[in-house]
Amino acid sequence: MFTKENLLKLLQTTKGRLVLIAIVVALVIPLVLSSNYMLNILTLIVIFTIYASSWNLLASSGQGSLGHAAFLGIGGFTSSLLAINLGIPPIIGIFIAGAFSAGIGFMIGITCVRLKAWFLAMVTFGFSIIAATLFTEFNDVTHAVLGFVPPPLLFSSRLPFYYFAFLISLASVAVMYFIMKSKMGLAFKAIHQNEAEARMIGVNTAKYKLYAFVLSTFFAGLSGAIYAHFQRYIHISIFSADNSFLPLMMSVIGGLGTIEGPIIGSVIMVFIDHFLTNIDTFLNSVLGPLFPAVSHVGPNIRLVGLGIFLVIVVILLPKGVTSLLHKLYHYVRKEIIKSE
């Protein structure tokens, strides 16, 4: 698969070139924009890329989780607690965290494989609430209620951390890409489109749905662990419903079921999140006087806008913003060919 000829052939395709350009940009951009603030945003983007892609992988098998924050949190707490209590270096801890999260995911997955999409959404949502309750109840072990500071992940300075997170993210996305292109990925797609038909043609649907669950929760746990070591703080709020809905919105806005969708989605969402003070101040100054009941209307107007955007994307662009880019690309190519 990775022979020299194959890679060279890949580079001759437009897709291969685009991927290469994206990687080069991701490697160079922190050197150009080297402020701590920008590095922060870029690192969050690569971490959320793993998280959103893990959600997207699960959704590609027709299983929409509404409680992925449970696995983000389990991953984050596992690695942080291992480092603090047993002195296990975080660089190993993050992978143990992923594996532990996948183990829990396996158990939830077993209960979910027989369920239909909306039941599964319920069970996963319920599980995120149960997880938060258990972490609160066993606060003596988890220290979740007040939160604590996990040790740094090898590097405490930001630039090397960015490159490390980027490498892990690149590797994770590549693995998920090959899974989605493999026989397993085809099985996921078949199950998503019509589970009964998939079973009829001999796909072991329960087995593949469980695979999707375990793989997805592994990457969710991994991203949670990196996130905790990056923020240098972990707290019970990591289990919040907002965190569960985040990868969903990233994947749907970016493009569900595509490999580039969650990446584009996480770029969009993290940017919105980080320039929100500017956005909010702007919205507040323009629309503030209309709503006297609230002192600062910015965040709420922004969220209403996000909700409308989400509904419009689902109705009009089922393949997300990515499909717009594809259309733009084909249009530009046609024009170029015409002009030649």
Binding site: A117, F119, F125, I129, H192, A196, A241, V294, G307, V311
Partner: protein
């Protein structure tokens, strides 16, 4: 051992769940639509009542009808503008649209009414009958009566009227219903609007019994889905029994294990039921 007051409050919240669950169950049964934003309609219903009682000085129990009418209109808009366009396609799309609607409704409510907790002041505030150790508030009694009246009306509508028969036909086999000359598009609209009106009524009753804020909608929705699953999809009897049981179980868990356990126990119960009986307690086995 078991305090009667706990049971009473369990039944009270259970009644709210029953109204939500029957509405959602109708929508699911007829349209096969999963609306995760149903609880936001309850929240809006409570606020509509709040506005007409404080703004126009209307009695809270009369405001129930205003709330039902307004939320029915909101439901009409939601069905036409959003859900109609994703119906029948990927089930996940309905969940995504619902999440978008939750964001829109929650934050719009904050913008209009602010974030502070509000409550509806009932004319019978603080009044009730003392039975042994239990203080039976008139408001609770009225709420039970209203829920019972609505349910009786609903059952009559579904079982005795022509449109109810059309709804049942659409629910069983929409294509065959279409062949029989039923305009299923109209049945869909009617069903969704009816479900929304029930949520509006639930919102007013909720606001009379409990304080509310713009974020109260999310948990009741998920719990209502749990109830529907427990009671069996499409079964109104199941929704009623499930709703009351769920309310009592949740209140018992909060009272005996501590507040934070209420939700966790409720969901643990749901997951156990789903493992043992994926089709629900009273549900019929389907493909």
């Amino acid at each position: 051992m078991i305090d009667a007051t706990i049971l009473l409050w369990g039944v009270a919240i259970g009644c709210i769940y029953v109204l939500l669950a029957t509405g959602l169950n109708l929508i699911f049964g007829v349209m096969k639509l999963v609306n995760f934003a149903h609880g936001e309609l309850l929240m809006l219903g409570a606020y509509v009542s709040y506005s007409v009682t404080t703004g126009l000085g209307l009695d809270v129990y009369l405001s129930l009808f205003v709330s039902m009418a307004v939320i029915a209109l909101v439901g009409l808009g939601v069905e036409r503008l959003a859900f109609r366009r994703v119906l029948g396609a990927d089930k996940l799309n309905e969940i995504f649209v619902s999440l978008g609607l939750i964001l829109i409704f929650d934050n719009a409510a904050v913008l209009i009414w602010g974030e502070d907790s509000k409550w509806l002041t009932s004319p019978f505030k603080g009044m009730g009958i003392q039975l042994d150790e239990v203080f039976l508030r008139y408001d609770l009694l009225i709420a039970f009566a209203v829920v019972a009246a609505i349910l009786v009306g609903l059952l009559l509508l579904i079982n005795k009227t022509k449109i109810g028969m059309a709804m049942r036909a659409t629910s069983q086999k929409s294509q065959a219903a279409m062949l029989m000359g039923i305009n299923i598009e109209h049945i869909y609209i009617f069903t969704f609007v009816l479900g929304a009106a029930l949520a509006g009524a639930a919102g007013t009753l909720f606001g009379i019994i409990f304080p509310f804020n713009p974020y109260i909608g999310a948990l009741p929705t998920i719990k209502t889905f749990a109830i529907i699953i427990l009671g069996g999809l499409g079964s109104i009897k199941g929704a009623i029994i499930g709703g009351l049981l769920f309310g009592i179980a949740e209140n018992l868990a909060s009272a005996t294990l501590g507040g934070i356990w209420g939700d966790a126990v409720a969901f643990a119960l749901l997951i156990i039921v789903l493992i043992l009986r994926p089709e629900g307690l009273f549900g019929e086995k389907s493909s």
